[in-house]
Amino acid sequence: MKILVCMKQVPQKDAPLKLNEAGTWIREEVSYEVNEPDAYALEEALRQKEKHTGEVVVITSGPARSQQVLREALAKGADRAIHLEDDAFVGLDAFNTAKAFAAAIKDEQFDLIFTGLQSDDYGFAQTGVILAELLGWAHATIIMQIEKTEAGIRVKRELEAGYFQYVDMPTPAVLTIQSGINKLRYATLIGIKNAKNKPMRKVAMAEVASAIGPNLQKIERLYVPQKSKQTQLLEGSPGEIAKKLVDKLRNELRAI
C-alpha cells in the first residue's frame, strides 16, 4: 500500500500564545509540535505499511520550521517527505491547501491519503475531504480502524454519542484519522539517524501557484474571546474551598 500522510505543525499545546500587532494572527515566536491527530494518522499509516508492505510518504506545507514534522515522521519510519516550503502556505484556507497538495502529488499514485481529523490551530476539519473531492476519490472521516479488503478497505467510523459504523469503500481514498486510534511510537535513535538520508522533496510556492487561487474566506480579526459568564472565584485553603463549594452545591445549586 502506498500511503500519503498530510501533516501539520501547530503551536505546542501549552505554549502561551499572543496576538500579533494587527490582530490577524499569533506571534510566531512560540514552540511548535506535530498536530496531534496527524501523529495518529502517521502511526496508522506506518502500521498499515508494516502489515501490507508499501510506502509511507509524508507531506506538509509551511515555512522552513515545519520541516521538523517531516523529519520526525521520517525518523518514525516514513520513507520520504514532501515539503511545500513557503511562509505564505500558513495563510492559505483549507480549499487552497488542498489544491496545493493535490498539485504537489499530481505525478504520484497513492492508494490512500491520511490526514488528522482536524488541526489544533485553524480547526477547519476540511482539508482531507476537499482533497478527496479534488482528486475525485472516495473519503471517510473520523476513522478508528482500517482493514484491507479484496475490493478496497473496510473502515470503522466514529459517530456521535458513542456510536460507530463500518464502511466498505474502494481505494484510492482519503481518510481523516481520529486521535487515539492507536498508540504512538517513539522516534528511535536509529530511526532518527536514518532519517537524515531519506529523500525530502521541496516544493516551492511557484510550483503550485497556478493551482491555487485567492482565499475564499478571510480572518478579519483574531481576538481573545469575551467571557459570556459571570464566574465566582473561590479562594482559601483547601479546607475552606471545600466548605465554600459544599455551600454552593447545597444552597445555590441544590445538588445536595
Binding site: A187, L189, I192, K196, E235
Partner: protein, 597 residues
C-alpha cells in the same frame, strides 16, 4: 550545523583562562542540529511517559521496573549512545550523550541507575575492553539485556580509590583470577549483571576486572538506607574467592588507575548534564506551585522574593546548559578527528576527554552546587508543603545532595581543577606562567586609558576579562609564595578553583548570549542576555571575594596593600541593577511555566 559553528581546530583544555574566545567558537544548545532536537524530544517523551509515571514504584525499590525501563530505553537507542555501532550501539556524539543524560534526569532515582549503567558501568568496557570482551558483552548491554555497575569504592577508600584492599590472585591452574574483598556504595549493586571491579593483583597492582553476578563467590549485600536517590540500588559487593575467568581482566595489570580516572572524567561531564536536567524539572514544579499557591490574596509568584528565587533557578539552568554544552562541544570537536576504526581509537578518545579534565570537573562541581541551590529554593517556595513527602520538593531536595559527593567529591574536584592547571603550567603545556607574568607587567605599568569600548556586550566582556585576570593574579601570587608546595594549601587551591569555575561559567554564559543576540530577534535574545547579566554580576562578587581571600593569605603589610589595590583595579566594574532584570526573567518563566530559554 555543529561543524559550522564550532572550531575545527582543537582548543586546549584549560586554555579558556588565557585566551579570548569568540561566540562562534563555542557550542550552545541553540546549535543543536535537527538530529539533536529529535533525540531530545524522544528522551523528553520517554521521561514523561515512562519514567515519571513509574517514579513512585521505583522509589519504593521495585527494581524490576528500573530494569524494564532500562530495557525500554535500550530499545529506543537511548542507552547506547556511547557504544560503537560495531557492537550494536548508536555511536553518537557527546552532545547527544549529554542531551539524553540531561533529559532522563527528571527523576533522580532512575537517572542514577541509568547513568551508572550507561556511563561508568559500560564505558570501561567500551574504552579498555579487548575485541573478545566487547563482542561478548556490548551487544547485550546495548539492547538492555545486561545492566552494568562500577565497583571502585571501599569502606575505607573512597576519594583515594587506589588505596583499595580488594585483592586478585591468579588461581593455581592459571585460568582464573580469584578476587577477595568488599566494595561499597555500588550503584545498581542490587540488580546489575556485569560489574567493573577494581582490585589489586597480589595486593599491589591496581587493576580492573569484568565480573558477572553469576560468577561463583560473587554476592551483593543489603540495600543501603540512603538520604536520597532512594529509587536507585546501592549495595556492597562481596567477593569471596570469586572466580573470574582470566580473560576478564580489563586493560593491563597495574593500569587500573588509567581506567578509573578516565571513566571519572566522563562521569563528571555527564553528571553536570544530569544536574541541569534535575534543576529543569525542579524549577518547573516550583513555578507551577508558585503560580497556584495564594497568599494575601494573590499567587505567591507575584511576590518579589519568590520571583527572585524563580529567576535565580532559571539562571542556574541557563548557565548550566551553557557550560555543559560548550564543554561537550569541545569534546566532540576534539574527538571528531579520531579514526574510530584505529586499534587505539578508544585510548585516543580517552586522551581527548582527559584533555578537558578541568572542564569536566568544573561541570561536576558547578552543576552539583547549582542543583543543590535550586532544590533548596524549591523547598523554600513550597514552604510547609516543601517539608512533607506528598510534594515533590522534599524528594528533590534529598536527591540533589548526593551530586556533591559521588563521582569524586567536590573537594577532590576543586583540587583537581587547580592542580591540573598548575601541573600544565609547570610542564609548559599551558602557557599559564607567561600569562601571569604579562599580567603582572601590565599591573606594574599602571592604568591605561584605551578607547572606551561602546560595542554591544562591552561591559560584560570586560567583566569576564576582569574575572580571568583576577584568577591569574591570585593564582600567580599564591604559587609565587608556595611554589611546589601549593598542593598542600588546600584552602587556597579551593579558592582558586572557585575563581576558575566562575570565570568559565561567566564566559560561557556571555558567549552564548552573544551568539543568541546575533542570530535571534531582540525579543528572543532578551531573556538570555538578562540571565547573563545577572549571572555575571553575582559571579563577579564571588571571584572578588576569593581573590581577597587568597591575597590576604599570601601577602602581608605593604605588599598586601599594594596587591589589594591591584585587585581592586583589575576587578573594577560598574554595578548593575539586577532587580529589574530578575523581575523580567521571573515574569517570562512564570508566563511559560518553565525555564524559558
Amino acid at each position: 550545523m555543529a561543524a559550522a559553528t564550532t572550531p575545527s581546530q582543537k582548543i586546549a583544555g584549560g586554555s579558556f583562562l588565557l585566551e579570548t574566545r569568540q561566540p562562534c567558537e563555542v557550542f550552545t544548545p541553540e546549535d543543536f542540529n535537527e538530529q539533536h532536537q529529535m533525540i531530545l524530544q524522544t528522551a523528553d517523551e520517554f521521561a514523561a511517559q515512562e519514567i515519571l509515571p513509574n517514579a513512585d514504584k521505583i522509589e519504593h525499590k521495585d527494581f524490576s521496573v528500573s530494569r524494564e525501563l532500562i530495557r525500554k530505553a535500550a530499545e529506543l537507542g537511548l542507552s547506547s549512545v556511547d557504544i560503537p555501532e560495531a557492537y550494536g550501539g548508536m555511536e553518537m556524539d557527546k552532545v547527544t550523550s549529554c542531551i539524553v543524560a540531561d533529559r532522563v534526569a527528571v527523576y533522580a532515582g532512575f537517572a542514577t541507575s541509568w547513568g551508572a549503567h550507561t556511563g561508568i558501568g559500560t564505558l570501561p568496557l567500551v574504552f579498555f575492553g579487548t575485541e573478545a570482551q566487547k563482542q561478548q558483552y556490548l551487544p547485550r548491554i546495548a539492547n538492555g539485556e545486561l545492566t552494568t555497575a562500577y565497583a571502585l569504592s571501599e569502606s575505607s577508600s573512597g576519594s583515594d580509590a587506589m588505596n583499595c584492599r580488594a585483592r586478585a590472585e591468579l588461581s593455581a591452574d592459571g585460568r582464573h583470577w580469584i578476587l577477595n574483598g568488599e566494595k561499597m556504595w555500588i550503584t545498581n549493586g542490587g540488580f546489575a549483571d556485569l560489574f567493573t571491579v577494581f582490585a589489586k593483583v597480589d595486593g599491589e597492582q591496581f587493576s580492573a576486572f569484568l565480573v558477572e553476578r553469576s560468577f561463583p563467590g560473587f554476592s551483593t549485600g543489603a540495600e543501603e538506607h540512603k538520604l536520597g536517590i532512594r529509587g536507585s540500588s546501592t549495595t556492597p559487593v562481596i567477593l569471596n574467592d570469586c572466580k573470574v575467568p582470566k580473560e576478564n581482566l580489563l586493560g593491563e595489570i597495574g593500569k587500573g588507575h588509567v581506567i578509573a580516572f578516565n571513566i571519572l572524567n566522563i562521569g563528571r561531564y555527564k553528571l553536570g548534564a544530569a544536574c541541569v536536567g534535575g534543576a529543569r524539572i525542579a524549577t518547573k514544579q516550583a513555578i507551577e506551585y508558585a503560580k497556584q499557591r495564594k497568599a494575601f490574596g494573590k499567587p505567591i509568584s507575584d511576590f518579589g522574593l519568590i520571583r527572585e528565587k524563580l529567576a535565580n533557578m532559571a539562571i542556574g539552568i541557563y548557565a548550566g546548559e551553557s557550560i555543559v554544552y560548550r564543554t561537550v562541544g569541545m569534546l566532540d570537536a576534539a574527538l571528531s578527528n579520531i579514526d574510530k576504526s584505529a586499534p587505539d581509537a578508544a585510548r585516543q578518545i580517552c586522551k581527548g576527554i582527559e584533555e578537558y579534565a578541568v572542564e569536566c570537573s568544573i561541570l561536576k562541581v558547578w552543576g552539583s552546587e547549582m542543583i543543590d541551590y535550586v532544590a533548596d529554593e524549591m523547598v523554600q517556595i513550597f514552604g510547609g508543603y516543601g517539608f512533607v513527602e506528598e510534594y515533590p520538593a522534599e524528594r528533590a531536595y534529598r536527591d540533589a545532595r548526593i551530586n556533591r559527593i559521588f563521582e569524586g567529591t567536590n573537594e577532590i574536584n576543586r583540587l583537581i581543577i587547580t592542580g591540573f592547571l598548575l601541573k600544565r603550567a609547570m610542564s609548559g603545556q599551558l602557557p599559564l606562567l607567561p600569562a601571569i607574568k604579562k599580567l603582572m607587567d601590565e599591573v606594574m605599568a599602571g592604568p591605561s586609558f584605551g578607547d572606551a569600548d561602546e560595542s554591544a556586550f562591552a561591559a560584560e566582556r570586560s567583566m569576564v576579562t576582569a574575572a580571568k585576570k583576577l584568577t591569574l593574579f591570585a593564582a600567580g601570587s599564591a604559587s609565587q609564595k608556595y611554589m611546589q608546595a601549593m598542593p598542600d594549601q588546600q584552602e587556597l587551591m579551593g579558592a582558586i578553583a572557585d575563581m576558575v569555575i566562575e570565570s568559565y561559567a561567566m564566559e560561557s554564559c556571555l558567549l552564548r548570549a552573544e551568539k543568541l543576540a546575533a542570530s535571534k530577534t531582540d525579543a528572543a535574545a532578551k531573556l538570555p542576555v538578562a540571565m547573563t547579566q545577572v549571572y555575571l554580576a553575582e559571579a563577579m562578587e564571588k571571584v572578588e571575594s576569593r581573590a581577597r581571600k587568597v591575597i590576604a593569605a599570601v601577602a602581608e603589610g605593604d605588599m598586601m596593600r599594594t596587591q589589594m589595590a591591584i585587585l581592586r583595579r583589575l576587578g573594577k566594574h560598574e554595578p548593575i541593577d539586577t532587580i529589574p532584570l530578575r523581575q523580567m526573567i521571573a515574569q517570562r518563566v512564570i508566563e511559560v511555566g518553565k525555564y524559558g530559554v
